[in-house]
Amino acid sequence: MTVTVRLARTVKDLLQMAQTEYFNAGHRTCQGCESAMVLRWVAKAAGPNTIVIGATGCMYVANTTYYTTAWALPWIHTQLSGTGSAVVGTAAALKALMDKGKLPREKINVIGICGDLGCADAGLSEVSNALTHTKYSFLILMYDNESSANTDIQETTMTPYGALTTFSPSGKQIRIMKYRWKKNMAAMMVVGHPEVRYVATAIATDPIDLYNKVRKALEIGGPTFIHTLDPCPKGWGYDPKYSHEIGKLAVETGIWPLFEIEDGKFRLTSTSARIARGEVKRKPVKEYIRRQTRFKHLTDEDIEYIQRKVDEMWEKWLIPGLIPLTKELPYPETKQ
């Protein structure tokens, strides 16, 4: 069963559907902050009947300085690792109060917003526990700027291979301190929580795709999860005016595949779907990497390694737990 929601097909649709801003002026994010763009689109897609919970992170520190909150929706802070618990507590309280007649019955969106450190590292167990509470409806949005940006750009498990952070500098003895490959959060959330009905990846560079995914997540009900990749000029090292370009390159090089998994059905979306269909060719990862100073110390061999890993992801990854065990699967050989 798929949900029917009005989806935007074109920019014109989008502008018609989402005119009101619920994430407004008054925030103090860096210029070119794509995480702020994500929040803006999420707030527009959710609309006024929404409670937003924000975990400690860039989007707490920069957006909710007292007197200048950007939120035109009810908003509350939760601890760095508290997003999963906060959405469950909120949704449970709304349910209890409505069941007991202490609140009028209506649909209220509950959205928990956490950065990569809060969600994928510190708060993983709470997010994971939340995604099993299928009697409550909420969306957990992980905005991923690939570092702990507000505390001075430190490494997280979401920091890509080789990237410079203040915890993973490049030195005389060790050129690459961040040797760990990035965790595959969205897939992990789907596979680990088989009753979750909607999980997606998105990016602010593609607002139509992002908007539609938020709408779907909120409509389908139960626990849902969206992971966005957010270019961050401060952490990644590029001129803020290139944020959108960098975001586009993340998708076009295939480093950031856009997909959704709805009721167990996996579907690539937008540019990623066109890449899969062969309508557009994946750009070399070098075009993305050479634009950012966090990768400035990488050699051509390092970039080739990253290219190989990205090719491998496109050519031989499967998402286990979504494909029946009884089926023999076509499993493409890796090109040597």
């Binding site: 006024p48 009947n49 929404t50 409670i51 919970i53 707490y60 520190v61 909710t64 300085t65 007292y66 909150t69 939120w71 035109a72 929706l73 009810p74 908003w75 509350i76 802070h77 939760t78 601890q79 690792s81 508290g82 999963g84 618990s85 906060a86 959405v87 469950v88 507590g89 909120t90 449970a92 309280a93 709304l94 349910k95 209890a96 109060l97 069941d99 007991k100 202490k102 609140l103 209220i108 167990s125 709470e126 994971s128 526990n129 509470h133």
Partner: protein, 415 residues
């Protein structure tokens, strides 16, 4: 598991009728019935002994339909306390709890519950802190949060556990207070021992406990507010000062709550903050919290029969601290002997936390008694009637000599 037929008849009686019914159950059972009567909306559970007992009974009451509440099994204690914090922010009456190191794993969430001013009520089933592992009672777990704005109360019987739970919601949710309450119950000695207690009818509870109302702080789409934005150095001082006011207000609100409780339920606890036992003319007064009262009271009775002027003062509310009562009841004595089921390493005189606080309170007294401190019963080791007699003998000896030879005595420690 479900509630027994007999019990279910009794539960129906208190939920529907006007009479209280007498049952046999543990301290945690008693608390669970109070939660049923308080009609909590959301609760979160995570296993750890000895707190776990309360959720076993709560879950049973929910499964059998006596309590309608959202019941959430959490991933760990931090999760547990964050869940209720946010449920409370939406306007739900909540309950949570833990023990020992579990309680401390939640400390970050515990702190924001009080700094954000949510009236959560929690059970601290007192347990020694690891390592080494021990299930038994020690008060250090609860005392770790003495400085973060939680009200802390120690109970001594199952009846007191039930009654105090109802009182705790009334105090916590009072608009003049709006702070969380931690109810401490001695692990095993009270949480898991069976007592006879009375369950009051819900009709009376409704007279005593108004519905939880967060007012204009309620998080709802009709009330667009931002809760706990970053204030940086601008406002922290003012916010802490407001908490201080709330904590001071609690002294008054607690008195009102016990007074109304006595009126409605007919059970009068006298002084809400402390329980004085034969202290009026006592030369030597022992002080303690929780179930240590039983062997000490027995020792007081027997020593009184022999003509010794001894007494006992049980501290019920530790936060807010009953300074006035401490001065009132203790400053007339020759010797005050504090029994601490906790220890504060490196504290001013290398003693327990209660001892340190009592010394501090008595500094303002016109007459300052001699004070000695027993560190005893750590990790759940029993303090028997004989131990209490031995401790009194040391205190009586101090009174006779008129000076303290050893301030802090680790009672019964194997050398």
């Amino acid at each position: 598991m479900s509630v027994s037929v007999l019990e279910s008849k009794r539960l129906e009686a208190v939920l529907k009728g006007d009479e209280e019914v007498e049952v046999v159950g543990t301290g945690t059972d008693a608390m669970a019935y109070a939660l049923m009567l308080a009609d909590i909306d959301v609760t979160s559970a995570y296993p750890i002994r000895p707190y776990g007992g309360v959720m076993q009974t709560v879950s049973k009451l929910i499964a059998d339909g006596y309590l309608k509440a959202e019941y959430i099994v959490a991933a760990h204690e931090h999760d547990q306390f964050e869940i209720v914090k946010h449920a409370s922010a939406v306007g739900a009456r909540t309950f949570v709890g833990s023990s020992g190191v579990g309680w401390l794993l939640a400390i970050e969430a515990i702190v924001v519950i009080s700094t954000d001013r949510y009236p959560v009520v929690a059970l601290i089933g007192n347990r020694a802190l690891d390592d080494p592992g021990a299930y038994g009672v020690e008060h250090n777990d609860a005392l770790m949060v003495r400085d973060v704005g939680w009200l802390l109360v120690w109970v001594d019987t199952a009846q007191e556990a039930l009654d105090t739970t109802l009182i705790a919601y009334r105090v916590a949710e009072d608009p003049r207070v709006m702070l969380p309450v931690g109810i401490s119950m001695d692990g095993a000695f009270l949480t898991h021992s069976e007592h006879v207690f009375k369950i009051p009818p819900k009709s009376k509870v409704q007279k005593f406990l108004p519905p939880y109302d967060l007012g204009n702080r309620k998080l709802h789409p009709s009330n667009v507010i931002s809760v706990a934005p970053q204030v940086n150095e601008d406002w922290v001082t003012e916010i802490r000062k407001q908490m201080d006011e709330a904590m001071k207000n609690a002294r008054k609100v607690i008195v009102e709550a016990y007074r109304d409780f006595a009126k409605i339920f007919g059970r009068d606890y006298g002084n809400p903050f402390v329980e004085p036992y034969m202290v009026e003319d006592a030369d030597v007064i022992m002080v303690g919290m929780g179930t240590v009262s039983r062997p000490i009271k027995e020792a007081v009775r027997r020593l009184r029969a022999k003509g010794e002027k001894v007494g006992f003062l049980r501290i019920r509310w530790f936060r807010p601290f009953p300074t006035e009562d401490i001065i009132h009841y203790l400053s007339g004595a020759k010797v005050v002997a504090v029994v601490d089921r906790d220890y504060s390493f490196g504290s001013p005189f290398d003693g327990g936390a209660v001892y340190t606080e009592i010394r501090s309170a008595l500094y303002e007294a016109e007459h300052r008694p001699l004070i000695i401190n027993f560190i005893g019963g750590l990790g759940g080791r029993e303090i028997t009637y004989n131990d209490a007699i031995n401790m009194f003998n040391i205190a009586l000896d101090t009174a006779r000599k008129g000076k303290v030879e050893q301030r802090v005595i680790w009672y019964g420690v194997r050398e």
